[in-house]
Symmetry: D2
């Protein structure tokens, strides 16, 4: 078993890490960190448990420590659920000696930090060597993208491999859990929606092209198409829904696109990693799917569900679809864990 720690273990994504790692066959939670206010307490006393599943017995009695490598010792991998500003300061400290699999946005776009979805761009992990050399670290940081980016990119990857994508428009309907437990007041969401999520559109636009970009041995050259996002918060607890419009350079047939998405397998599927979904993309044929409450948990929340796949009558070489992905599993904690599983297997 590999000893792992969770940085920022009391928040919403921290709790997902705990839930997903509690029965993990290779990783054993041996350290939980949080802010000074929680340090020294039993985890059960420090955290208000937000998830619908019960708090795992195995973590209840772990003593929470400060988010500091001197406190969270004897771990090989740390998973980071820290807010961006804290992550920027603390993750580099851990990376001196540990593998940091981070869900935070702080280091994602650093040129020598791999931003990885295992099914999409595992080869970007080659950046680790550059990172270690640049920074003189024995460990390293690997990041996963933003929740809405991951779901989108998992569906774009097989298409990008087979077609010449010209432009993508995406409009999201995102779950409130994405903002943390206290992030969205109920006054803002009952009989309402909020058509703005700070920084989200910029992240989707830059991260997606970066993920699909090519690592040329020194840095990542973003994919050469245009992507425009409009991001909105709706009254859904978990599960981001995205309406996607794509224009290709050439003609396409819907059946081919469907097969392309259905048959998509990446390295995690080939390596049969513990958290890998059988199929990263699942197609639903019903006219009114995917729906977040019905489809977010597909394959333990690690698969993205695509439906309403149809040609775009208005434009040549174009298609439209709707996708749903679980934002705190596939889009956050599960993404970091799959990164760590891949690293454990191949590095």
């Amino acid at each position: 078993m590999v000893n792992v720690g969770i940085l920022g273990a009391t928040g919403m994504v921290g709790q997902r890490f705990i839930e997903l790692l509690a029965d993990h066959p290779k990783f054993e939670i041996t350290a939980l960190t949080a802010s000074a206010r929680s340090a020294g307490k039993r985890y059960e006393d420090a955290a208000t448990w937000y998830l619908d599943s019960p708090i795992p017995e195995s973590v209840k009695d772990i003593t929470v420590v400060d988010t500091d490598p001197k406190e969270a010792k004897d771990v090989d991998i740390v998973f980071s659920a820290l807010p961006a500003d804290t992550a920027a300061i603390v993750e580099p400290k851990f990376a001196k000696s540990c593998i940091v699999a981070s869900n935070a946005s702080a280091m994602r776009m650093e040129p020598d930090v791999p931003l990885v979805i295992p099914e999409v761009n595992p080869e970007h992990l080659d950046l680790v060597e550059i990172q270690q050399k640049n920074r003189g670290w024995d460990g390293f940081i690997v990041t996963n993208p933003n929740c809405s980016t991951i779901a989108l990119t998992l569906t774009l990857k097989p298409l990008y491999d087979q077609y010449n994508i010209k432009r993508v428009y995406v409009s999201t309907m995102q779950a409130v859990s994405g903002a943390g437990y206290n992030g969205v007041p109920s006054m803002a969401i009952v009989d309402n929606l909020v058509p703005f999520i700070g920084g989200e559109e910029e992240k989707m636009e830059s991260e997606t092209l970066h993920l699909l970009g090519e690592f040329d041995g020194e840095s990542v050259v973003p994919a050469p198409f245009g992507l425009s996002a409009s991001c909105h918060r709706v009254a859904v607890v978990n599960g981001h829904t995205e309406a996607v419009f794509i224009e290709m350079e050439d003609d396409l047939e819907i059946e081919d696109v469907k097969n392309c998405l259905c048959n998509f397998k990446g390295l995690p599927q080939k390596l049969d990693l513990h958290s890998a979904p059988k199929n990263p993309v699942v197609i639903r044929e019903e006219e009114n799917r995917p729906q977040p409450r019905m489809d977010r948990n597909t394959d333990n929340g690690m698969a993205v569900t695509v439906g309403r796949l149809r040609k775009d009558a208005a434009f040549d070489n174009s298609l439209r679809y709707v996708l749903v992905g679980h934002n705190t599993i596939r889009g956050a904690a599960g993404a970091s864990i799959l990164n760590a599983e891949l690293i454990s297997e191949i590095m």
Copy 2:
């Protein structure tokens, strides 16, 4: 006072007609029709009143009659809130002698039936003459578009007049009231959304281009750009939200676009029609507006609110914005009433 009737007066849109007409300075409700089950009853007994405002005293005692011109007599204008299939049969009967201002979709795309938003294409009313000649009617039918089309088109019209629109993508988040009181089960919408509304995308795509099209004296030639829609139902009672992406042929400045939208006035504003909003399009500068619960009632629900007006970083000559419009006022009953007010004034 002009005597008016309401066809399908017990449903959700029928009730909005009643609410909006109860204190109208020129129109007086003298007939209310419904299905055979309700005919013969007092309106208050026939209808389950769904609106938040109380049922107007003036209609409580009106006896509901069958939806038949022989029963609903002595009216000059009838407002139709009928379902499409009934409308197709009944509206032509009324049009023999009456003006039919219809919210139903049945006749909208008939070549000789004007589909009109008074601020957008009042000149399409010239089709009436052709319609009456074709069909031998003394009255005529005028229709208004689908709820989501109206809100979108009100914002596209001033842009279309000033810029060369190349393509439009729109993704909607629509209120449950658009499906009627029983249309969307709560099981489908609590902690969920439904990414499909039957026929809605097709209506948005065809009606919008028709409304912006040119009447050449014989028929309407649709506007020559592409428009693609993806339509979704969310947990909002009233007020449709739409994320709009537009590519123009040429460069644009956001300030110019803003002025173009703000300063837009149409014939209803010039004629100072009773139900005309002061400005058909209202701009909000806050980063998180428009929101349906906050903005749907702007100018009595007759104005469309636009926010998040911004350039599209990914594409040249492109802009994005979010709009909110009240789907059963500006998008349904209020639209038919404004059509009737315009007709009363100019024909």
Copy 3:
């Protein structure tokens, strides 16, 4: 394995039966019935699957048959998820040769039909002999109570055994799934609640006292205290919440009440029945629990969670608490299955 059928298998409770029975160690689904419209179709084609978990592979290809003992043959037990009116006609036909474990309300208050919660009144199953004699059946009908009754009665039973209950007031906040998929329109529940559920208060008041009543060898004598219910529907998908006020004849200590509830075990726990929760009643100490989304799935949805257990400052000998129970698992399909498991074990 015992062959079982599900009557009314396509509705919401029918689907819960399928979900809960799909991997059952003793019961094997061999027949699924529905209305004539569905008969002859594969189950997957006949049903619109409403649950968040995927439709079990094992039932997809079962051919749905009419709800008639001639069609649903070779079954030892049938679970009934029929509407009350159909149940009244069809269940007696099945009872001629089968055990009918029914969730329908039709036969619940028949004097010779046991209304049973296995933890509460298993001895009422002795009515079966009288029923078979009265009606000349080889099989029999056993029913479970209404969803909100079950949750309440599971908490009242241990108290009733230890204290002299004088009066109970209960105010419910019930999930929309209790009315079936199409039962509650979203217009009725978004930014709203409905303070009425047809027949619910009467069922709670009569069934609870019947369940706690004594079987005197011939019939059931209801428990001798008063119970008053007020029932309301709120915007929750699954999980009924109930605020309970109880006055006892004598003084009480909260710690004793807590122990009484915590330590409660019934026959299903002693027999270790497959669907029996470890503890029928689980106590939460947090000041803001139980909450339906967080607590409905406790012990696979078969335990009732109680919180806010406190004395009533206004009245002597009084206490108050709030409970949450899963309405379509413990309150419906799971209740019938536990009844059948008990019968299989002891009869």
Copy 4:
């Protein structure tokens, strides 16, 4: 016109004060106070406007000042929407020279501070004389009760006058606006409810009996019956719903109770005060009313709507009903304003 100030003018209740006072015939807003962070700014720049109605033009340019009598000068009445801790410090300072009509809970149960609902206990205003004498103030403080208390007590008052109330149980389903804009996270309320509101049950229990109590010339003697409350937060924006169970000493007829509630008029109705509803209590006969979205705005949000009035089958001399009242209008800002209108008229 009387010059009035609003203390805590940027919060949710502060905004309701502004909305309700903007067109008031006797009160003119001349001062708005907020925390130091907002002081010095134009009101429009200082406040994030939360209400569905637009921010009144007349207040946009008022400069917000510190909540201090030296800053908010030349006002005769101040309305307090302050949090309890601030109110405890600041309201006495204002009361040296002003009338303070407070919605804060800080001073409500002070023996010499009148806690008043104008229809219920206007005679408690006689405490003012004692207060001024005790404290040496030229002004004074008058308070209104908690939101859920006001709605309940308005329905209890006419019953208390006509019957001997023995005991009352009340279970509430309260709107999220009652906790302020940021009070309830959406994670806590989507597909969920929270069965706890800090301090609410205690307030309902003590304030209601105090309001119905008798002022004996020196202090208020609470009404001599028992009242027990259980308070819950549900997914409703505005409008508290309460299920009420009452046991009387003697027999009752539902028709008499209905008449008693319907015909109830208080001093505000007799004096025809500007904000007084025509009837403080409105009865709905439909089996599924009152509902918060439909009934909260009855008589501009100042009337309480009662429905489901029925005998309690389980208990003698007992009745049950459900009520809805607007929590931030009748239950907060409107309550303080009605107090001030009464004081202006009679003192």
